[in-house]
Amino acid sequence: MRKLFVLGAAAMMTLPSVLSADTAPRDVAFADDGSVAESLTGVAGDPTAGLENATSRGIGNCVACHVAEGWKDAAFPGNVGPALTGIANVYDESQLRGILVNSKKTFEGTVMPSFYNLDDIIRPGDAYTGKAATSPDVTILTAQQIEDLIALLLTFDEPLPE
């Protein structure tokens, strides 16, 4: 099968939790509905970086599971998750942050990965080598990558598909 999230060497160097200004994964404050009000970095997200992130196998790879009008040129989007077209009409910023940081707190038991989470990981691996993880503190995405994705999704304000 295709690798879902190939963490390249470059991405590996930006281990998220060691960047002091960021909220560490275990310090993120969730509301009861799973949303996260506060920015993880205090730095505004960049939707262009978000798009790159969402459509790259090496980073967020949201296209593995979602189609969206906002990335209609991406080859072979998957359909394990719902279409994200018009998603800005459905969720606000805090809800989107909650879904991305730890999807399970919004959608119980969901197949969608938790992108900024260190808990309940069974047999963590070292990227896609199949070997054991060398650090227990690796998340799939960095705090800023999450903020960039939120900025992107907030631009998805098309009318909702039927």
Binding site: V111, P124, V138
Partner: protein, 288 residues
């Protein structure tokens, strides 16, 4: 050469369809797998009772989820690229190896007779209480009966031989035992099947039970059955063993995978095989 050309043609046509924006195909459940014009294969079978409806009414061979060109390759042994590996194993079957001066044929006779129906019931528990796959039986004969060296679980001589042995069960229903001495292994395998491994926190069931028929990027998710193993993967240009496939799927959840031939994958093999009880043994089959 002919095979390679066919493969690229298949890929090219898949690409054209995708670029044209056409909806990608659902598994073609009306397609019928008939091999060499006369061997009709059961590729859809009533789901075994132990699944309690988890896969709906039917279990479905991975063959149905592949594109038409790949499916076609499995219908004719002259087109099936796995058959040259089988030929190598047939030669090995008759070849004396090891300190005892014996070949497989010396004890088992013709492979068509001696290995008939064997793959359909593997893995199984031995009298000594171990859960053994085809690879274990083969290496037991090689080391303890022939005085020959063990074959590596995942190298060609072993994969070739498992393909040749699977072929002697082709068309017979998978029928692994899950009760009695097999029960604890089966429970262990089931537990693994539903465990969400790795940073991506995905279980076998998340992809192959909840999402079969859906696409994960360009990959059309099947039920993850093993009735077609070993499979010839066009991408690898070679045979892939059951444990190698498992190792890849676990690795791709960003997890520390398990070792091929280790106790965990033995248990998982039994459980996954039992999810396909009733499907025809299809090995060696063809996959992208």
């Amino acid at each position: 050469m002919r095979i390679r050309a066919k493969h690229s043609a298949a890929l090219a046509s898949a690409l054209v369809i995708a670029l044209a924006g056409a909806a990608r195909a659902e598994p073609d459940l009306d397609a019928k797998l008939v091999i060499n014009g006369d061997l009709e294969m059961t590729t859809i079978a009533p789901a075994p009772a132990h699944l309690e409806g988890a896969l709906g009414d039917n279990v479905i061979s991975g063959w149905h989820y592949r594109d038409a060109a790949t499916r076609q390759m499995e219908t004719d042994d002259f087109e099936n690229p796995a058959m040259s590996a089988v030929d190598e194993a047939l030669a090995a079957w008759d070849t004396v190896d090891g300190s005892e001066g014996k070949s497989c044929a010396d004890c088992h006779g013709a492979i068509e007779e001696g290995m008939k129906g064997v793959t359909a019931v593997l893995p199984k528990v031995t009298e000594a209480g171990a859960l053994w796959s085809a690879e274990d039986f083969i290496n037991d004969c090689r080391t303890n009966r022939m005085g020959a060296e063990a074959w590596d679980w995942d190298k060609d001589p072993m994969k070739n031989m498992t393909a040749a042995i699977a072929l002697q069960s082709r068309g017979m229903p998978v029928n692994v035992a899950i009760d009695g001495a097999a029960a604890p292994f089966w429970e262990q395998g089931k537990e693994m099947y539903y465990t969400r491994y790795g940073l991506l926190q995905l279980s076998c069931a998340n992809c192959h039970e909840q999402n079969n028929g859906n696409y994960i990027r360009a990959d059309h998710l099947s039920q993850g059955q093993i009735n077609g193993f070993p499979v010839f993967r066009l991408k690898n240009d070679g045979l892939v063993s059951i444990h190698n496939r498992f190792a890849g799927c676990v690795r791709d959840t960003r997890a520390e995978t398990f070792s091929k031939g280790g106790p965990e994958f033995h248990a998982l093999e039994l459980y996954v095989a039992s999810r396909g009880n009733g499907l025809a043994v299809e090995g060696p089959s063809v996959r992208p």
